[in-house]
Amino acid sequence: MSIASTSVIQIIPRTRRGVELLLLVIAIAVSVGAYVNIGVTVQNAVPASTGYYAAGIGLLALIAHLALRYRAPYADPVLLPCAVLLNGLGVAMIHRIDLGLAIVAEARGNTPKAAAAPQQITWTAVGIVLFLVVILVIRDHRRLQALTYTAGLAGLVLLVLPLIPGLGVNLNGARIWIRLAGMSFQPGEFAKICLVVFFAGYLVVKRDVLTLAGHRFLGLDLPRARDLGPIGIAWAVSLGVLVFESDLGSSLLFFGLFLFLLYVSTERAGWLIIGGLLFAGGAFFAYTTFGHVHRRVTDWLDPWAIDGGQVKLGLMGQAWGGILGRGLGQGHPEATLYSQSDMIISSFAEELGLTGLIAILLVYTLIIERGLRTALGCRDIFGKLIATGLAMSFALQVFVIVGGVTGLIPLTGLATPFMALGGTSLVANWAIIALLLRISDQARRPQTPAAPVSDETIAMAVQKQ
C-alpha cells in the first residue's frame, strides 16, 4: 500500500520545457490555420482579425509557458499545449458559427446577434489569469490540504447557489446557472474543483478506516455498515442536484468523482459496486418519478421524434459531416441549436468529420491520461487523489457531454471542456490544468532538490556514456 512498494517508473528529471514550447507552436499554428481557413471559405478572404486572434492566443500561451518555466519547470509538457489547442479550436469554431448565424440573420432581414468569439477570447484571458494565480500562488499543492473543509463548504455553497430564488435561472430545463451583474455563471464548474480538494483531504484522513473490511460477499470485501455514512451523504447530495437542479450530468459527475476517489484511496472494488448500485437506484427513481428526467431518456431513445430537437439536428450535422467532414466553413453547424455551446462537438464533427472528431477526442484522452500519469508519479497521497479527481472529472465530463451530443447516452447540460462557449467552464478548466501542472511539477521534480537540468545537458551526458 505504501508508495515505495508499488513500482513507479523512475523519471529522469528533465524539464521538457523546450518540447512544450514546440508543441505550443504547433497548437497555435493549427488554431490560427483553422481561423484563416474559416475566413477564406466563408468570406473569401483572410480575416482582418487574424492578427489579433493569433497575437492574443499566442501571447496568452506564451505567458502561461513562461510562468511554468519560472515556477514549475518540471511540469508535464503535454497538458498546456493540449489545452491551448482545444481552446484555440473552440474559439475558431465559435467564430465560424458567428459568421454562419450572421448570414442566416441577414438572409431573414434580422440584425445579427453580437459575435460570441471575442467574448470567448476575453474569457480565455481570464482563464489564463487564474492559471497564473494557481501556478504562482500555490507553490505546493499540499498546502490545500489545510483548506479541506473550507473547500467542502465552498463546494456545497456553489452547488446550491443556482437554487437561490432571484439568483439561479432555468436554462434548457436545468437549473445550474446563476445570473449576476448581467452575466451568467455555472457555479458547478468551480464546485467540482472544490469538491475534489475536499474529497481528497477527507479521504487522506479517513482512508484507513474505510479500508477496513466488513462482510465478504461474492468474493468481494464489502465495507462495514457503519462506514457507509460518507458515501450516503455524497449520494444524497448528488441526488439532490438531480432532483432540484434537474441536471443528470452534474449529478453523475459529483457522485462519480467521490466514488472514484473512494476507490483509489481504499482500493476496495466493493465501494464501486455499492456506489454503482446506489447511483443506478437513484437514477431509476428519478426516471420514474420526475418528468424532466423521463423526457431526457425518451428523447435519447428516439431523437428523431422531436421536431427541431437539438440532438436530432446535431446528429444530422454529424451524419452530414461523414468521415472526412464538410470542411471548415462549408457545413451548416449554425443550423443546430446551441451549436456554439452544448452542441459544439457536433459542429466540429460536421465540418471536420469523423476524422477531426476522433482527433479532438484523442486530445481529450491525452489530457486525461497525462493527468492520471501525474497521479501515478505524485509522491503524496493528497496530490494523487487530487490529480486523479481532476483527471477523472475531465473524463466523466467529456464522456457525459460528448456521449449526450452523439446519442450514446441521454443529453445533459455539461460544458464541453475548453471548447464550448461559456466563461465559467473555460476559466474553471484553466484552473484544473494549472492544478494538474502544479502537481506534476512536484511529481517529476528530482527527489533531492537540485537545480533544473536542461535537455542539452542530459543529451551530452548520454553521449559521454
Binding site: M1, I3, T6, V8, A107, F260, Y263, V264, S265, E267, W304, D307, L313, L315, M316, G317, Q318, A319, W320, G321, G322, I323, L324, R326, G327, G331, H332, A335, A349, G353, L354, L357, I358, L361, L362, Y364, T365, I368, E369, L372, R373, A375, L376, I381, K384, T388, A391, M392, A395, L396, V398, F399, V402, G403, T406, G407, L408
Partner: protein
Amino acid sequence: MNSAIRRLAVAAMILMLALMANSTYLQAFRANEINGRNDNNRVRDSQFSVNRGPILIGSTPVAQSKPSDDRFKYQRTYASGPVYAPVTGFYSYLFGRGGIELTMNAELNGSDPSMAFRRIIDVISNRPQQGGSVTLTLNAAAQQAAYSGLAGKTGAVVAIEPKTGRILAMASRPSYDPNLLASHDSEKVGAAWKNLNADKDKPLSNRAVQELYPPGSTFKLVTAAAALSSGKYTPESKVNSPAELPLPQTTVPLVNEDGKNCGGSNNATLTIALRYSCNTAFGTVGMDLGPDALREQAAKFGFGARPLTELPSVATSQFPGDPNEPQTAQSAIGQFDVRATPLQMAMVAAGIANKGEVMKPYLVQNVKTPDLKTVSETKPESLHQAITPQVASQLTAMMVDVVANGTGKPGAISGVQVAGKTGTAQTSKDRPPFAWFTAFAPADDPKIAVAVLIEKADVARDDVAGGRLAAPIAKKVMEAVLSQ
C-alpha cells in the same frame, strides 16, 4: 493506490473508445440513412447549392441547373417542362422531388457511391461538388408527338422499342410545369403546389405508369395469345360469336359493341373476331381457357409485377384473383377487375412485336460523371418469353389485319405495315369510356410499340372508340420514330 489509478486510466480509455465507436457508427455507417431523411434541411440546403447534373435526351438537357444569384447558387430549369414532367419529375425546395429527380437523386447530385472516387478528387483539388448526368432513353420527336397528340385530352402515351425495352415516349396530360415547383420563390411555389394538388384532373399524376385502367378490348391480345398458345386454337379456328352471349349464373348477357354478330357470322374465326373486336367470341374463348390460363398469360406479359423501377409509385397491373365464369368472360375482354397501366399495354404490344420476348422497360440509358466518364449503362434485359415466335407471328398477322381491315384503320400509316388493336373500356354510365389503342410498326421488323389511353376527351359519349380517338395519336408517335 497506483494499481487503482491504473484501472481508472483503463476505464477512462474505455469511455473515450466508446465515444469514438459510437461516432464511427453514426458518421461512417448511418450517415446515408440520416442524410436521406426528408426532414434533413441541412442536406436539402446543401444539395440546392450543388451543381446538379442534367437530365439529357441525347445531348439535349431537359432538366439542368443554371447559376443563380439568389440564396441558392443554382436554379433548376426544365426546357419544355410539361412535355417531360411525367418522367423528369420536379426538384422543389419545399415539396421534395418527383420522377427521375427523385429516383436518380444521388447520381444527379454526385453523392452516389459510384461517384465516390470523383468526389474525393473534388475534395482534394478543392473543386465544388458537381453532379452526374442522367441520359434518358426517350426519343424527342416521339415524346413531342405524344404530348401534342394528347392536347385537349386527358390520357397517356407510352412507346417502347420492342427489341430492347427502351422507353421512347412517356407522356401524360394534363401535365404541369416543373419550373413552377423548382422556383426559389417560396410563395409562388406554395401556391402552385396547392393548385396542382387541388386540380381534379390530377396533373401531378403520371397516368402512363401510376394509374390503373380497365384495358378493355386491348386485353383481347392477351386472351388471343393464351388461346393460340394453348394449342386448342389457330387464327382460323371458329368460335361462337353471336350478337348476344348468354352467360351462366347471371341474367346479364355479354354483348358486342355494335349489337350485331361478328362480321356477319355467328361462328367467326379468331382473326375475324379480333378484326371486329367481338366481345362474345373472346368471352367464349376466355371461359373455355379458364381464368388461370388467362392470368398466367397476363403474368408472362408483365401483369402482377412492378414493371419499372426508375420512377416512383409505379402501379402494378392486375388480373382478378378468382373470377367465376361470367366474370372470366368479362375479364377475357379486359373488363371486370382487369386493370392495366398504359405502360403494361405497350409491353404487351412490344412483346408480340419482339417474337414473343418481353423486354424489361427502362428509362435511363446511362449515368455519366461531369467529365463524361460512364458510371453505368443500362443493358437490355429479358423479362419473359411470353409466347412462342410462331404464336407471335400469328398474332402479328391478326393485328395487321385489324389495322388494314378492322377497327384499327385510323392507325394505318401509308407505306408501313402497322399491327394494332383498339379498345373501349366501359366503366360507369356517368363517365365516358376509356379509349385505347396499342400497336407496333413496321410489322415485319418492329421499331416501335406504342399504347395510347384516352381517359377523357371533349367529344360526345357515344363517339368514343379506341380507333377514332387513340389510334391517330399512336400513328403520329410511330411516324415520328419511323421517319428518323
